[in-house]
């Protein structure tokens, strides 16, 4: 984070095959990509191009078939392939916040508990501290008046803002977002982007997937993915 020229995440020759009844399907083929601290990186491509698959390789939600992903976070370098499922989970919980198109909030918990959950899981914050922090985060995404509501009682845009607040709970250096505005109307989406922009200005690193080429100007840099391969790059690195 301190040195903008040494990458936060390095993806080297990563391939990913899905094994289906029809045979092995190559969803990613030899991806090389570095993610630098403080950048707002866009991953764009058509539906089915492999964007979500690529994100899953970074978050450790799914395993790549070959290659390596290295993370240089919290002063340590780790190869994701070396981590067990549990270590990956703990690492992900502490170093990155994940935002999905479908919000993925827990319906039985109110907003504040949803935001507190990652802090509870990682054990990085004391319960009292984590409640304060969750309140601050919800205030930041302008939901301070709704902390006791349940996800089903607020709008989609509000839910996505809760998801962002939750992604920030453990104060991670990296935010990974898969079509975060996919189910939102343009006004609501703009609001979400404002929050992201604000986070980037704060110095956080964001990787965001979208199929909407209209969003390109927002990114500090973007890569294009087509049929599992990186086919283009733009913006100022």
């Amino acid at each position: 984070m301190t040195d903008p020229t040494s990458p936060l995440i390095e993806i080297n020759s990563v391939t990913k095959y899905y094994h289906t009844t029809a045979g092995a399907f190559p969803a990613l083929q030899g991806i090389d990509l570095a993610i630098y601290p403080g950048e707002f990186l866009g991953v764009v491509g058509k539906s089915g191009a492999g964007k979500s698959t690529l994100l899953n390789m970074i978050t450790g939600v799914d395993r790549f078939s070959s290659g390596e992903v290295q993370a240089h976070t919290n002063g340590k370098s780790i190869s994701l392939s070396q981590l067990s499922e549990n270590e990956l989970t703990l690492w992900r919980g502490r170093t990155m916040g994940v935002v999905y198109q479908s919000f993925q909030l827990l319906p039985m918990l109110n907003l504040i508990h949803n935001v507190m959950m990652p802090m509870d899981m990682s054990g990085l914050y004391q319960p009292v501290k984590s409640r304060q922090r969750a309140l601050e985060l919800l205030k930041m995404v302008e939901l301070a008046d709704h902390v006791d509501k349940y996800p089903s009682q607020i709008s989609g845009g509000q839910q996505q803002r809760v998801a962002i607040a939750r992604a920030l709970a453990n104060d991670p250096p990296l935010i990974v977002a898969d079509e975060p505005t996919g189910s939102l109307d343009s006004v609501t989406a703009d609001h979400v982007f404002e929050i992201f922009q604000h986070l980037v200005d704060e110095g956080r690193t964001i990787v965001m997937v979208t199929h909407d080429e209209g969003l390109l100007p927002l990114f500090s840099r973007y890569v294009t993915i087509t049929d599992g391969q990186l086919t283009g790059e733009g913006g100022q690195p």
Partner: protein, 810 residues
């Protein structure tokens, strides 16, 4: 509260129906175990203590009339701690205004103050009768409505009717305990005997031994010594009984029955675990996305595993909250019920630590064990799969395996439908959908079928066992075929009795029987057991024995007998044609066993020898004390009426009648005690059926819940509520009927097993199994009703949701 525990709490509270289902299915098993274990402990502790508290006699000897001389001899006999003598005679009692007489055994006690053996416990009124008053044992109250102070009518042997006042009600836990079939008791003082026209003499001895009160060997040898002594003093000894001080004579029977109930309780726990496993794996299926989300934000396996473990424990704790108090109450109620029936008292309500511990262990272990595998696999699932699971679920709720199963079924279904259509049979599309749905979740279907089938099989078996037991009692009745037994105080000639009896047009046959008592000796010459030898005419039709081997009596038999299978206890290798040593009238003789027959093992050994031989040996040729009378109608009412009329008639003619007993009366009380057992079995059967139907209800609601989206889509494309309702109900019925077919089959081995265990416990002999359609029919009805009910509620819920709600459902 930390968010993770908040989530666990919400999981518990939000889906109340599911929580209740799981909690109740745990609670049913824990309750059953608690009741039985608790009752077992309470009874085994209290039965012995309560029995011992009344200082029961170790030896009871019935003999000729005797006085204080013999009593003093016995009191000073070596090894005797205490001896008391009483006079016991039969009497008929009724409340004034009643028509029916109740036969009671009246016990004349010399001194209620000094009474030290077979103590009486006062229940109400006076604890001692004054002269010409009577104390009633509380069993009498089952037949006669009486309270202290009330006047009852009694009938003496010569037919005179007198009035007597009830002094009080007492409980006698000892005197009747040994003899299952003995009539209820009443007590008077010796100086009242004259009032009853009885001689001022004793006819029973009650003895406690000085040492080895719980040593059966010792008590038995004391009995043999006492009998020798009594016979040397010139008295004839009749039936004798022995009992340990701290063990109720029926304890082993009760324990055997409780053992059977325990086995069923364990089975219920087992069934409820499979039900819980089913519910929990469905729950984890529904929670897959939540698990995925938690892993996404850093929740490790251990955390998630622990969260669900706590959820399981919470289910268990909630179940315990219901089951422990209910089980404790139930245990005491069951123990109380048994205590009342058997005639002992409990030491008071208490929590049985053992059963508490067992309940806690079962209540916590059952959810843990049955939920362990689903929870482990749920917490190990990868984020990708967990989030994917949701993806496939929302598009149909099937995993790869069931999809293939579905396709295979679809394939089969298409073929089958075509084959049927070729023959002009068309299966309604609705039924096809239901059929397909039934087989969609095969693991769940199997568990549901298992639970319901077991419940049904036990239910059906209990009915079969009931018929089997009653049939056996009926067969035992073949030893008592006479409609009325007429006993006299002195022997009368057969022709004389026939002449009078045939005056009544209802009488069609009269037979004189003889009796003898004997002792079976062991090869070393010691006494094994007393037996009663009944001596009907060899050609008598009034005994139709269940012969195990050998033959029945012949008129020419001399020193030959047929003996009940109880003899195998002493001569296990006995064959027809072998001889055994008997002691009869003080003489040791070798008798040939011509046949062995089945009887109630608990009633000891009985033997039959021809009247022709026994009467001559007793110098009673052509005469008899006891007559068997056959009349036209054989029902209980006709027998009762006849017994009463014969009694009155013979008394009026100046005969010294002892009593006239209707033939079925013995059987009725035997059948009654069987019914207690059957009631317990039925309760257990209902509990298993409850678990089974809860399983079905759970399965149906899970099936419907998981298909909520699909049902919404069906409705969106025009299916009516009624069609959806029908689809779900047909699915429930299909499962119910499938389980019924399986239960029918499984009930066969269950019936054999249960009959064998029960008959060994209460008859101490194996019995022939009989099947009845009754259990099958009732269960069929129950299954149809239960499975419709189990599906109506979830179906109704599903049909009630608006399309918008359903499509928003995740």
């Amino acid at each position: 509260m930390r968010p993770r525990w908040r989530k666990v709490l919400s999981d518990l509270i939000d889906n109340k129906a599911r929580t209740i289902l799981v909690v109740f299915s745990i609670a049913v098993g824990v309750f059953a175990i608690g009741v039985i274990a608790g009752a077992y402990v309470i009874i085994s502790q209290d039965m012995g203590v309560s029995y011992a508290a009344n200082n029961p006699s170790n030896i009871e000897i019935r003999l000729d009339d005797f006085d204080h001389d013999l009593l003093n001899t016995i009191r000073h006999f070596k090894g005797v701690k205490d001896a008391e003598a009483r006079r016991v005679f039969k009497l008929s009692l009724r409340s004034p205004g009643e028509t029916r007489w109740t036969s009671v055994d009246v016990v004349a006690v010399e001194d209620f103050q000094e009474n030290a053996i077979n103590l009486l416990k006062p229940i109400s009124g006076a604890a001692e009768p004054h002269k010409e008053q009577i104390l009633l044992e509380r069993d009498v109250l089952e037949d006669i409505h009486a309270s202290p102070g009330q006047i009852l009518e009694l009938q003496l042997l010569d037919g005179t009717i007198k009035e007597i006042q009830v002094a009080g009600i007492v409980q006698d836990a000892s005197t009747g305990a040994i003899d299952f079939l003995s009539p209820p008791l009443a007590y008077i003082t010796m100086d009242s005997l004259k009032f009853f026209d009885e001689p001022d003499l004793f006819n029973r001895l009650f003895v406690t031994v000085a040492s080895g009160q719980d040593d059966e060997e010792h008590i038995r040898s004391m009995l043999a010594d006492l009998k020798d002594k009594i016979e040397k003093n010139g008295f004839n000894v009749g039936r004798t009984f022995i009992s340990k001080t701290h063990q109720h004579p029926l304890e082993s029977t009760i324990n055997a029955v409780l053992g059977i109930l325990m086995a069923l309780g364990v089975l219920i726990v087992f069934l409820s675990s499979s039900l819980i496993a089913n519910t929990l794996s469905a729950l984890l299926n529904q929670h897959l996305r939540h698990i995925g989300v938690m892993k996404l934000i850093g929740g490790r396996d251990q955390i998630i595993f622990r969260m669900y473990l706590v959820l399981l424990l919470a289910f268990g704790l909630l179940a315990l909250l219901i089951a422990i108090p209910a089980g404790g109450q139930g245990a005491y109620a069951l123990a109380q019920y048994i205590a009342d029936k058997i005639g002992f008292s409990l030491l008071g309500y208490r929590i049985v630590p053992l059963s508490f511990v067992i309940q806690v262990a079962v209540g916590l272990l059952v959810p843990l064990v049955s939920g362990f595998i689903p929870v482990i696999s749920g917490s190990r699932v990868t984020v990708q799969k967990a989030l994917d699971g949701v993806r496939t679920q929302s598009s149909g709720g099937e995993d790869q395996e069931t999809l293939e199963g579905g396709y295979r079924f679809e394939h089969f279904q298409v073929k089958a439908t075509r084959a049927l259509a070729d023959r002009g049979i068309r299966i309604p599309r609705q039924l096809l959908i239901s059929l397909r749905n039934t087989f969609r979740q095969r693991g769940r279907l199997l568990l549901t079928l298992f639970t319901l089938t077991m419940g049904g099989a036990i239910f059906i078996s209990v009915f079969n066992v009931r018929i089997t037991l009653h049939d056996y009692v009926q067969k035992i009745g073949n030893y008592f075929l006479a409609d009325v037994t007429l006993d006299f105080e002195r022997p009368y000639r057969l022709e004389e009795i026939e002449q009078y009896a045939y005056q009544d047009p209802r009488v069609i046959h009269v037979e004189g029987w003889a009796y003898a008592t004997a002792e079976i000796l062991l090869p070393d010459g010691s006494t094994a057991e007393n037996i009663t030898l009944l001596a009907p005419p060899a050609e008598s039709d009034l005994v139709s024995p269940m012969l195990i081997e050998g033959r029945w009596l012949r008129p020419t038999d001399k020193k030959k007998l047929a003996i009940s299978e109880g003899v195998y206890d002493y001569y296990p290798d006995l064959r027809a044609g072998d001889s055994i040593p008997l002691k009869i009238d003080g003489k040791e003789e070798l008798w040939e066993v011509v046949g062995v027959f089945k009887f109630i093992g608990l009633e000891g050994v009985i033997g039959y020898a021809p009247y022709e031989y026994i009467s001559r040996e007793k110098n009673l040729a052509n005469r008899s004390y006891s007559y068997r009378i056959v009349i036209q109608d054989h029902d209980r009412a006709a027998q009762d009426a006849m017994a009463k009329d014969l009694d009155a008639y013979f008394r009026a003619q100046g005969f010294h009648v002892l009593e006239a007993t209707p033939g079925l009366s013995t059987l009725d009380s035997a059948a009654e005690s069987l019914d207690i057992l059957i009631t317990f079995l039925l309760i257990m059967a209902l509990l298993t059926a409850t678990v089974g139907s809860m399983g079905l209800a759970g399965t149906m609601s899970m099936n419907v819940l998981e298909r909520t989206r699909e049902i919404g889509i069906m409705r969106a494309i025009g299916a009516t509520d009624l069609e959806i309702l029908r689809m779900v109900i047909v699915e429930g019925l299909l499962i119910g009927l499938l389980s019924f077919v399986l239960s029918m089959i499984l009930a066969i081995p269950f019936t054999y097993l249960l009959s064998a265990i029960v008959s060994n416990a209460i008859f101490a002999t194996p019995i022939t199994v009989i099947f009845t359609p009754l259990g099958y029919l009732i269960w069929l009805g129950l299954v149809v009703v239960l499975s419709s009910l189990a599906s109506i509620l979830p179906a109704h819920n599903a049909a009630r949701l608006t399309i918008r709600e359903v499509l928003a459902y995740e």
